[in-house]
Subunit: 196 residues, 2 copies
DNA sequence: GTCTATACGCCGATAGAC
DNA sequence: GTCTATCGGCGTATAGAC
């Protein structure tokens, strides 16, 4: 969409690098991945990597910002599309489960990685825009009475904790079935915890 | 208890090393901690470290095994002391919250770290004895009808996901109050999700 | 058992040709 | 913009005296 140029046929090295890095960071972790690994996986040279990125950390940072921004867009879209907490939270569970199946590397990078260990200047994930938006959604639900009166932090932990734990188990290959097989049970548990 | 010897006055270097490593691993992460850092924090020499441990990974492994074993003992004690799922699960929440406040480094190492990244031969945490015991406790509860009929994996994710998320927020210093301030709300949410 | 000194490989990053 | 060649440094681990 944004690479336009003329014929938009050529693979952008920058994207190849990001794709390779995401795959390796999620599979082996940031510190177990060398720049040489990325170089090999992306099929570019060391020089090309350092032409597009200042250093290894900058690659991880670009990935992180991209994913956070895209997640934020999706949550905003959900918020506009739906009209109450039940629909919103349910749609978020569905989104996260679908992303885990269809873009497991993206979810692994967001849900499993400890960004603060390799992006020291980054705020915790719980302070990022999409997670603040989630908090906002839940607070609205509590105010309107659609959700139980409870501490918003606990509501958040209950929702995102359950959700991310299921995702983690799936990514660790500890589930017998794909995630959508557990969707109903997961949603029921979350909703019983949060509804009045 | 176990160092006896004669007067049990001397600090064991091995314990000092483990203590220092635990602190640093939790604070900065395994990969951001060098053996020189551990050496400095424990106030011993490089030679002493390699006298007691084969390599850096072995230090992390010793910590992991110790903590897993101790956690397993605590869960077994809880299982013996209590007589139903309500009491058991509630006691586990209290245990984890108390440990987070009183031994934050231990909990940080268990809840936050990705052991598979630096202990490649280790099974996932969800396959370790204490977590299998937790699964067993929940399955018993489901069989006896004390917990809702639901997929045990989801029950587990709901319980441990919520719990560990609260702990994570506390360790990230994202909570305004200590954990026991949230105990009632947390437990209520978990129990509503799991009870019939 | 504990220490100091040091070997050495790996990896992030740069230089500079094309 | 992309490449190859290479450097400097850090960090793990060892050697060997005491």
């Amino acid at each position: 969409m944004a690479q336009s140029k003329k014929k938009a046929e050529k693979k952008e090295p920058k994207d190849e690098i990001l794709k390779a890095a995401l795959k390796l960071f999620t599979q082996k972790g940031y510190f177990n991945t060398s720049v040489a690994d990325i170089r090999r996986e992306a099929d570019v040279s060391t020089g090309t990597i350092y032409h597009y990125f200042k250093n290894k950390e900058a690659i991880a940072d670009a990935l992180y910002q991209d994913i956070i921004a895209s997640l934020n867009d999706s949550l905003k879209e959900i918020k506009n599309r739906t009209k109450n907490s039940f629909e919103r939270l349910r749609a978020i569970v569905e989104l996260f489960f679908a992303l885990t199946e269809d873009a497991s590397e993206v979810m692994g990078f967001i849900v499993l990685a400890h960004h603060q260990e390799f992006l020291p200047s980054e705020k915790p994930l719980s302070m990022s825009p999409p997670f603040l938006l989630l908090t906002e959604i839940m607070q609205e639900g509590i105010r309107s009475g659609e959700l139980r009166r409870m501490d918003p932090v606990v509501a958040n932990a209950c929702f995102y904790g359950t959700l991310s734990r299921m995702i983690q188990l799936r990514l660790e290959d500890a589930l017998e079935k794909p995630l959508d097989w557990y969707l109903l049970d997961t949603w029921t548990a979350i909703w019983k915890a949060l509804s009045p």
